[in-house]
Symmetry: C2
Subunit: 139 residues, 2 copies
């Protein structure tokens, strides 16, 4: 479903910015680490310091109240002819265990060596199912 | 209203990612160039190639239907101890002319030399009024 050029761009990047919105349509956006696998993206509520418990994080409560999400993957350059982004819109769900959760953690630890020292087995994973992919500029 | 440390971080950065949502709470997020002035942020619908006319851009129609916005300003590093972001939530409006519009364009052209060759006088400006500022990590 995701064209090859966009898939390559998604796979080759290390950070995305994920937007969620609460039930009243109030947006929220944070940088996330992610992994792409077979048409889905996965992100874990990791051990980078948080002020609140994983389930109380805004991104988690927003997704539980309103599963619609958007992600943008891009680089900024001062040479604007090099700018480009991939925008994904779709729905998200929270995985709390099971085979798919385990596999997502393993893939994240493969992509990000930083994750290998973290105990992520019991951390919520955000699974994103994109339904629309748009790209702009030098992707 | 914005603490000094966060204001300095906002002023020293060149790109933000802005999330909007339509009336049904469907999020959208794009990278934007912006300028900070006296508690407000301004971004222009510039001449970087767009597929549709300025008023038909999703970010503009979303703001006109639901003025709530969120912006994140951050850098990604492989050394995760250096990660940090500033998250702004608030409302946005579209300026189409007048003194504040003119001043915003001038400030954007001062911050971004790339804008000096663009005819921006008649382009819509997004004015963001933050009502909540949060920061995380190494800001």
């Amino acid at each position: 479903m995701i064209p090859e050029r966009e898939e390559k761009f998604i796979r080759s990047h290390r950070v995305a910015r994920m937007a969620t919105a609460d039930r009243a349509g109030k947006p929220h956006v944070v940088p996330i680490c992610y992994v792409y696998e077979e048409g889905f993206l996965y992100s874990v509520i990791d051990e980078k310091p948080k002020k609140v418990a994983p389930d109380r994080l805004r991104r988690v409560s927003n997704i539980e109240g309103n599963p619609q999400v958007a992600l943008v993957i891009d680089d900024y350059y001062e040479d604007w002819s090099k700018l480009g982004f991939v925008l994904l819109q779709g729905v998200a769900e929270i995985l709390r265990g099971g085979e798919e959760h385990r596999k997502a953690i393993a893939l994240l630890q493969e992509k990000y060596p930083q994750y290998r020292a973290m105990a992520l087995e019991d951390k919520p994973v955000i699974k994103i199912t994109p339904s629309r992919v748009q790209s702009w500029g030098a992707v």
